[in-house]
Each structure stands twice: as structure tokens, then as C-alpha cells.
Amino acid sequence: MTPWWRAPVLVTGVLVLGYGTLLVLSGGPAAPPTAVGVWLAGSLVGHDLLLAPLTLVVAALVVRTLRGVQRRVVATGLLVAACLVLVALPALLTPGVPDNPTTTPRNYGVGLAVLLAADAAVTAALVLAARRRRRPVSLAKGPVRTQE
């Protein structure tokens, strides 16, 4: 079943993609295609060959050690932490703007540490709550189920 909007969206998309490609290739001193191309390729490689595999390794560890609600809560906590780190990295690593103390004025290391601690605390509280919820059930209805 093909939705009616498929063809017009496809045609528009091809035209816009073509226009964008021409824009990037049009170059000029403000944005030479090679300079933009390097960063485009870097974006692809940085995600697909670095960030994504790293995530899979972490995910495999979580999957192996935790189950059920706890696994889902910890996974969420890790996603929140990863995104906070990514957003903080530019502010942490920037060389800064000379003579302009109003750019990146905060202590971002402390800020990130506070936010990660809050994330860890919320995650831990939710994991404990999940454990506590399971225990009365197990007393009333027999052994604790290992799989939810």
C-alpha cells in the first residue's frame, strides 16, 4: 500500500538533495568543497566506526550483567550520560576566545560532574525501586523470576 504523498516527497527530496550537492560543490573561498568534504567524511567515520561500535560494546556489557527493568533503567541512564558528555565536550575542549570572558564563562567540568552525579543518583534510585517492587511479589508468589 503506497501512500499518496510518496511520489511528490520523493521528487522533492531528489531535487533538494541535488541542489544541496551543487551548493556544496560550488565551493568558493568561504567553503571549499574539499574542506567541507573532509568534515562530512569525518562525521560519517566518527559515528559509524567510533561512536556506534563503542556503544555496542557498552550495550553488550549492560545486557550481559542486567535484566528486565534494571537493564532498561541503566540503559536510559547511560544514554542520558552520553548525551550530556557530548554536549559538554565542545565547551570543555574549546581553546576559548581571547579577550572575551563572556564566551564559555562557566566551569564546565564541575557542571558536567554535577549533572552526571544527578543522572547516576536518579538511575540508582529507580533500580532500587524496581528491586523493592519485585520482592513482596516474590514472597507472596514463590521464587523470584529471573526473566521479566
Partner: protein, 349 residues
């Protein structure tokens, strides 16, 4: 994901038109808060879409290794399309994030490249949506089901957890940064690249007088404002004109904004004094030499009673970093075009 990128694209185009208006267009000067809103949304939505993009990419990542990789031509094209889609999306988010901390470790002009790649990304996204149309619909469950179709399964706990996790992460990064434009949140936005209350006279600065190398000219007692090539106004000439006070935001392209009370003369009073007809486009020219030396002002903004040639902010003479002796301040205008250290006003033919 599509909606977030749609918001970024539309607000990005608005910002592009502000900064590169076609000659025939008179960019409206109202509503006053419009640019503050659209650019604040642009940056906040971009930041919030980081978890959306990551979750999306990670849930489909393993399909990259499906075997055989190219069973038919359609599948081959679909895979090739992922190159501009993924590269474009990551590129836009990375360059945007670095721009808001004013870090430029590349050899291109950020606004030009960010704008061009946006077209590549949106084109690839539209094609992707069209190609995936049937699957996307069955996932959202909005497709009308035939009576003999199997009942659709309720979303699994894993899928609900992914959605909840993405929502939590998007909320977290938003709260951590949005205080740079939503003032009440500035105390909790620990990762915001700007504090809207920090800077000389309680306002952040994007380009300092030192970086613009304007100090000697700006502090010269012989400074005059040249209007339309025929009128020379000294500081005391300007102070002799009717003075006005307006409350206007500085809304920066980088997503921060801060409101302040500005004092000075109305641009339209000065234009009338020089005999400039009301329908003319004008250009304001800074003492600074280089990229941000001039900015265009359409008739709508030039004649707006809120548009000032400001000499004061918060009751004090402008700090040198805020554009002493004279700067433009107008409603619904990107901060980069609120030109500082004015030297001339030119009239387009």
C-alpha cells in the same frame, strides 16, 4: 526526528534570509521577539536532536552488516543514500555545537557550510522518508488495517524504554543548555555556552572591541556619524535630538539572547533629518574593517519607532565592547547585524 530537523531547517532558512536578504525583500521588523524565538528554537532543537539521532542510528546500526549487502538495485541506492543522510546529520550537529562555543577548527566559513549541507541533509531525509514510507506507517500503526491482517503487537517494553530514554536524554540536554536564552533557567543550565547576565553592563559580548580593532577610532573625540554622505553628526548633535528608551533583546545567531533597555535617537529621525525618502533600503557601516563591517536595513526596520541608534544601555553610556560611541539596535534582528561602532549610514539607490 523528522520534525526536529524540519524545525531546524525552517528556522535556519529564516536566519539565512535575515543575514542574506534578497535585494527586493523588506524583512519585517515585527514581531519584536520573532528572531529571538526562531533562533532560540533552532539551537535548542538542534541540541535536543542529538539523542534522537543517536537512538535512531543505533537501533538501525546492525542492519549495516546485513548480508548480502546489495541484494538488488533498490537496496543499493537506499544504502548509498545513507551516506549524505548520516554524514549530513552528524556534520550539522557537530558544526552547530562547535559554533555555539565559537570554536572553528576547520577551513570553511561556518554559516556557509552549515547552510549548504542543510540542503543536502533535508533532501536525503525527504528521499529516505519516501523510500521508507510503508514501514514508517506500519510502525506508527496509523495505517488502516484490513480485517484479515494480524493484530498489531503492542509496543514492547524494550521499545517503550528506548522512547522514554530518548525523551529523558533530550530533556536533560535541553535543561542543561536552554538557560542561555530562557533567563529563569540560567542557574540550572550548567552546560550553557553563555550566561545571558554575564558581561560588561550585564550583557554578553560576541565580538569585543579588541578583536574588532576599533578602540582608537571609537574613542577619538573627533568621531562623527556620516549620514547619506551629506550630514555629519557629533555626539552632542545626537544628544540634542529627541531621546528615546526602548526594551529590546540582543538575540544572537548562536542561540543566546538577553534583553536590555537601550537609549538613543530613532534611526528614522536621523534619516528624516538627512532627507532620506521613507522607502529606501539603507546600509549601516561600522568602524570595524572586515566581514561584519556593514549590514543592510530594510525600510520596515529603518522606519520602526523601536529602531534606535543607541548611545546608552541600562542608563549608562555604551561599554566599548557594546559598540561605543554608537550602535544599531532594532527589533526582530540577528545580534550579528545589530552593528556596533557605527561610522556611516549609506542609502541604497
Amino acid at each position: 526526528m523528522g520534525i526536529a530537523f524540519g524545525i531546524c531547517f525552517v528556522t535556519g532558512l529564516i536566519s539565512h534570509v535575515h543575514q542574506n536578504p534578497p535585494a527586493w525583500l523588506d524583512v519585517p521588523s515585527r514581531p519584536v521577539w520573532a528572531y529571538q524565538l526562531t533562533q532560540g528554537l533552532h539551537v535548542a532543537t538542534g541540541i535536543a536532536s542529538i539523542p534522537l539521532l543517536l537512538a535512531k542510528l543505533w537501533t538501525v546500526y546492525r542492519r549495516l552488516f546485513a548480508w548480502p549487502p546489495f541484494p538488488d538495485l533498490a537496496r543499493l541506492l537506499e544504502r548509498l543514500l545513507l551516506v549524505p543522510l548520516v554524514a549530513g546529520a552528524v556534520f550539522e550537529l557537530v558544526t552547530g555545537l562547535l559554533n555555539i562555543v565559537q570554536w572553528y577548527p576547520w577551513r570553511f566559513a561556518f554559516p556557509v557550510a552549515h547552510y549548504r549541507v542543510a540542503w543536502v541533509l533535508v533532501g536525503a531525509l525527504l528521499v529516505h522518508l519516501a523510500v521508507k514510507a510503508p514501514t514508517a506507517r506500519s510502525v506508527t500503526g496509523r495505517r488502516r488495517r484490513r480485517p484479515d491482517a494480524p493484530p498489531e503487537a503492542a509496543p514492547s517494553p524494550e521499545r517503550r524504554a528506548v522512547l522514554a530514554g530518548v525523551a529523558a536524554a533530550a530533556g536533560a540536554v535541553t535543561v542543561a543548555t536552554v538557560g542561555q536564552t530562557v533567563a529563569p533557567l540560567r542557574a540550572v543550565s550548567l552546560l550553557a555556552p553563555r550566561d545571558p547576565a554575564l558581561g560588561p553592563q550585564g550583557l554578553p559580548v560576541n565580538r569585543t572591541a579588541a578583536a574588532a580593532r576599533v578602540a582608537p577610532k571609537a574613542l577619538d573625540p573627533g568621531w562623527r556619524l556620516l549620514v547619506a554622505g551629506r550630514l555629519r553628526l557629533s555626539m552632542s548633535d545626537l544628544l540634542a535630538l529627541p531621546q528615546h528608551e526602548v526594551e529590546l533583546p540582543i538575540a544572537c545567531v548562536e542561540g543566546w539572547s538577553a534583553s536590555a533597555r537601550w537609549g538613543g535617537v530613532r534611526l528614522r529621525d536621523v534619516l528624516d533629518l538627512a532627507g532620506v525618502p521613507p522607502d529606501r533600503h539603507i546600509t549601516v557601516v561600522s568602524l570595524e574593517e572586515g566581514g561584519y563591517q556593514t549590514s543592510p536595513v530594510g525600510p520596515s526596520a529603518a522606519r520602526d519607532p523601536l529602531t534606535l541608534l543607541a548611545m546608552r544601555v541600562r542608563g549608562e553610556p555604551l561599554h566599548l565592547d557594546h559598540g561605543y560611541p554608537l550602535r544599531l539596535i532594532a527589533p526582530n534582528r540577528p545580534g550579528v547585524q545589530q552593528t556596533k561602532w557605527l561610522s556611516r549610514i549609506e542609502v541604497s539607490s
